[in-house]
Every structure is written in structure tokens, then in C-alpha cells.
């Protein structure tokens, strides 16, 4: 048997790891085993950001809506299944963001504390997004103006908002 890590030398070290009642066997050559056991804590599984993230895709039992459905959803465009996404920690294409939206929303909040973009918008394809961003800004200013009782300024802002909303249709 060849070492399953380097695939070059003969496996002479056989490790069994049991975590969360899942048994995992590893067959390694001496060199790879030494490397993996090098740390002060002995053998540790290698850390991978994607596997770590994949764990976060796991539904909270408390959130009924997030329970996996039998069969699971699939992205209609790239064909990635919900399960594959959860396992790999990566989305398959731009449409996956729509396909898996209910599952992603809480995840994004966990990672970023929000699920709403507030940065740059592409000049060519983001025309509508740009107007929306401007609209958001104006609405915020309007609230502030009202709070400070600057009614003249508020009236100007309100007109600008109406104008933009009309543009968006």
C-alpha cells in the first residue's frame, strides 16, 4: 500500500482517529507520519478554511427553515447541489447565490455581521445598483434632517428621492 499523503512511499504507519463517533483510518509512510505528528499536540487534522466554513453551512437545529430537505436544492445553472456546497464551502457560480439564498443569508450574517453590500458598484453593469445606493444615502440624510428639524433641507431631499424613485420606475 502506498502512503495516502505523498503517494510515493510505502505506507508503514497506520493511524485510526475517532472523532464524533466517526472512525477515520490513515495509512502513511514514516516521513509523512513524522511531519503530521511533529507538533506538540501530536497528530492533528489539517486545517482547511473551506472545510471549516462548510461546517457553518450546517443548519441550526433551532432554525426549522434551515433543515436540509430530502434531495436538497440544486443550482439550475451550474448543477451544484446544496449538499455539495455545504461539503466544499464554495459556491459553483453566480446563480448559486440566488438558488441557495435561504441557506446563505444566515451564513453571511455569521461571517460578516450583515448581508448587504455597501461598497463599489460596477460602472457599466451596475447602473440600477448605483441609483439604489444613492437613494439609500439620501433616505438616510432625510432621516437625519428630520431628526434635527431642518425641514427646508428635508423638503429638498424628499424631492430628490422622488426624482430617483421615478427613474427606477
Amino acid at each position: 500500500m502506498l502512503c495516502e499523503r505523498c503517494h510515493q512511499r510505502v505506507a508503514t504507519v497506520h493511524l485510526t482517529e475517532i472523532s464524533n463517533n466517526v472512525k477515520r483510518e490513515m495509512h502513511l509512510c514514516e516521513a509523512c507520519a513524522r511531519e503530521l505528528q511533529g507538533g506538540p499536540f501530536g497528530w492533528l487534522p489539517q486545517f482547511s478554511l473551506h472545510n471549516f466554513l462548510a461546517g457553518l453551512f450546517e443548519p441550526d437545529v433551532a432554525h426549522e427553515a434551515l433543515r436540509p430537505r430530502v434531495g436538497g436544492r440544486r443550482c439550475g445553472r451550474c448543477g451544484l447541489s446544496e449538499e455539495e456546497m455545504a461539503r466544499g464551502g464554495l459556491l459553483g457560480c453566480a446563480s448559486c447565490y440566488d438558488a441557495f439564498q435561504p441557506r446563505l443569508e444566515p451564513l453571511l450574517r455569521r461571517i460578516h455581521g450583515t448581508s448587504r453590500h455597501a461598497g463599489k458598484v460596477p460602472a457599466r453593469s451596475g447602473g440600477r445598483a448605483k441609483v439604489l445606493r444613492e437613494l439609500q444615502g439620501l433616505k438616510k440624510q432625510l432621516e437625519e434632517a428630520v431628526a434635527r428639524e431642518e425641514f427646508e433641507r428635508a423638503a429638498v431631499l424628499r424631492d430628490q428621492i422622488r426624482e430617483l424613485e421615478r427613474k427606477l420606475g
Binding site: L49, H50, L53, R77, C78, L80, G88, G89, L90, L91, G92, C93, A94, Y97, L104, L107, L108, I111, H112, G113, T114, S115, R116, H117, A118, G119, K120, V121, P122, A123, R124, S125, G126, R128, A129, L132
Partner: protein, 353 residues
């Protein structure tokens, strides 16, 4: 200069040793993750489509405005480079080690001065990077944003009104921005304050990690601090936040250096001169030892204990003495011991000049 020549040159503009705070801040980097709307993300991309993505990027680079405003950007497929050349690009911090995996589907774009680089088909279709010497995050962001806008004239980015720029990994979605600074913090390490620094930085939505080595163990006392979150804030806010925190870290580092210089001057000077002495006379030098000694020498230059040495030379040595670069210089593969001998000779020669 052809891209093959760029690869074999030791110098990159980020090593210039200029720019604000050049002694403590080695470089500032801004990276933008972008994807093309029409294609699956790279990990699901078949070879033919990977080639189409590379082709689309290649076309975008030739847009008249790109060459006028940004300069000539050259694309090279990873498969056209040798294994050593690919590793050299990693050692110069121009590409990530991930671009070496499955390299037949990947390409890299470089501007002559290596300030701008684009990884094609890494985790995302495009990873646009701007790398400048010293603390210049705002400048790096401006140049990255301008390049991004010009590429967008040709490329159709995956963008969503609510979520922003869409990326393969949900940790990058939104701005797709990762801004980082490479800091040299020997004072905080000697004063045993690194762990508190890492914890403090984490509370501010940023991450700090050793550039070489694991966790808080950083060979050469080099640390990278970067933003963690990519969604919900504007790029300007993120860049301003990182710049402000970096300013605080530099103040702490200076205070630690001053205290060391005041209270333990002989010990500090002795350590710096010894390190300089070893670099100038050793016959066998490992990569790790070199990084450690160069850190002491850099501190010596900052504290004006050593003169006549430039930050630029130290930065260059940091890259020149990495394993792949040595082999590139030697023009052949070398086993570790032979590399250590070659490295020691190279360092002696460079420091004699």
C-alpha cells in the same frame, strides 16, 4: 522587458524601501476578487472554459484605455513557466501558492514594475492585486479601483445589487476586498506583546498573522494585518480602518523599541551587531536563520545603530534568499545543504557592496 525576464529579476517595486513608514511597514496590498457572470467559478470550470476566461481577460487588458491609463499589462499562462519560476512568483508575493495547483488552467498578469498583478482562475476568475512599498493603502486602493473600472469596460462581472461582487467563497462576497499591510514588529516580539496585539486586532474586525511560520510564531518578525469582513462596509471605510489600526500598531512598536533602547541598550546593540556579523561571514545559512538575522539588521538600520545599509537591500535579500529564487539564480535544482552554502555566499557578496 518580457514577462520571463520580470520573473527572474529579484527586484519588485514593493521592495523599494520608500513610501511612508518604510522602515516598519514593508508593503501595502489591496486585492479585489472578481468573477465573470457567464462562467462557473474556477473550481467547477472545465479546461476549455478556463481558457475562455483567460482569453476574455487577455482581451480586456488590450483595451486602449487600459494601456493608456494603467500601462502595459502582460499575461502569461502558468503552464508556460517552469516550476522554479512559478515558485519565484510566490516568493515575490505576486501570486498565492494556490495558483500553483492545477496550474494548466491558470494565468498571471503583471505590469512591468509588478505593482499590479492579476491571478486568473485562482479561487475566483480574477484576483486583482496592487502592491506598493510602505504604508500606502489608500493609493493602492485607488489604483486597484481604477484598474478594476477599466477592465469592467470589457468584462461582465458577476454582481448582485444586494450582495455586491459575487465570489466563490462567501467570505469574500461584497467588496471582494482584502487589504493588508506587511509589518516588521521586532519590538513588540521582544517585549512579549505580540499575543495581545493579535487579540486586540481581532476585536477590530482585522486579522494578524505571522508571514512565515505558524500562528504567532513569525520568522523574521514579519506580520500581515488584513481586514476580515468584506461585506457591509465601503472599501474606503475598510481601508481607513486598517490604516488607522496600523498607525496604532506602529506607535506601540516604536514605544517598545524606545524602551528597549533605553533600558537594554548594550544587549540590543550586541544582538544587532552579532547578527550583522554572522550575515557578513557565515558559510552556511538556512532560510529561517537568514530571515531572523535580517530582522535584527533591519532593526539596527531603523535605530541608526548600523549605517550604510538600505531598506531596499534588506528587502531584496529577504526575497533573493528564498529557496526557489536561489535555484533560479543558480539555474538548477539544489538540495537544501547546497542551497544553504549558496545562500551564505550570496548574502556575503551583497553585504560587501
Amino acid at each position: 522587458m518580457s514577462l520571463k525576464d520580470i520573473v527572474s529579476r529579484a527586484y519588485s517595486y514593493w521592495m523599494d524601501g520608500t513610501g511612508p513608514e518604510a522602515g516598519l511597514v514593508i508593503s501595502s496590498r489591496v486585492r479585489l476578487a472578481r468573477n465573470l457572470a457567464e462562467f462557473p467559478f474556477p473550481h467547477l470550470l472545465p479546461v476549455e472554459q478556463a481558457e475562455q476566461v483567460i482569453h476574455a481577460v487577455h482581451l480586456a487588458l488590450q483595451h486602449r484605455e487600459v494601456t493608456q491609463k494603467i500601462g502595459k499589462l502582460e499575461l502569461i499562462r502558468m503552464g508556460e513557466l517552469t516550476a522554479i519560476e512559478r515558485n519565484v512568483l510566490v516568493e515575490k508575493h505576486l501570486i498565492s501558492p494556490d495558483l500553483l495547483k492545477d496550474y494548466q488552467k491558470k494565468a498571471v498578469v503583471l505590469r512591468d514594475d509588478e505593482v499590479i498583478s492579476i491571478m486568473v482562475n485562482e479561487e475566483d476568475h480574477l484576483r486583482l492585486q496592487v502592491l506598493l512599498p510602505g504604508l500606502q493603502l489608500r493609493e493602492a486602493w485607488r489604483l486597484a479601483a481604477e484598474t478594476d473600472d477599466l477592465l469592467e469596460r470589457t468584462l461582465n462581472y458577476a454582481f448582485n445589487e444586494r450582495l455586491g461582487y459575487l465570489t466563490a467563497c462567501p467570505t469574500n462576497v461584497g467588496t471582494g476586498l482584502r487589504a493588508s499591510v506587511m509589518l516588521h514588529l521586532p519590538g513588540l516580539v521582544l517585549a512579549n506583546q505580540i499575543e495581545s496585539m493579535v487579540n486586540a486586532v481581532a476585536k477590530l474586525g482585522l486579522t494578524a498573522r505571522g508571514l512565515y511560520g505558524e500562528g504567532t510564531e513569525a520568522t523574521g518578525n514579519l506580520f500581515q494585518v488584513s481586514n476580515q469582513v468584506t461585506l457591509g462596509q465601503s472599501e474606503e471605510e475598510m481601508v481607513a480602518n486598517l490604516t488607522a489600526v496600523t498607525g496604532r500598531l506602529l506607535a506601540q512598536e516604536r514605544a517598545a523599541r524606545q524602551a528597549l533602547y533605553r533600558d537594554r541598550r548594550e544587549t540590543l546593540e550586541d544582538r544587532i551587531w552579532r547578527s550583522y556579523g554572522i550575515l557578513k561571514s557565515a558559510r552556511v545559512l538556512s532560510s529561517e536563520e537568514t530571515m531572523r538575522l535580517l530582522s535584527d539588521v533591519r532593526l539596527g538600520v531603523d535605530l541608526k545603530i548600523i549605517d550604510g545599509l538600505s531598506h531596499r537591500l534588506i528587502n531584496e535579500l529577504m526575497v533573493l534568499t528564498r529557496p526557489a529564487f536561489l535555484m533560479k539564480l543558480a539555474g538548477r535544482e539544489m538540495p537544501p545543504h547546497e542551497r544553504d552554502v549558496f545562500r551564505a555566499r550570496l548574502v556575503r557578496d551583497k553585504l560587501k557592496q
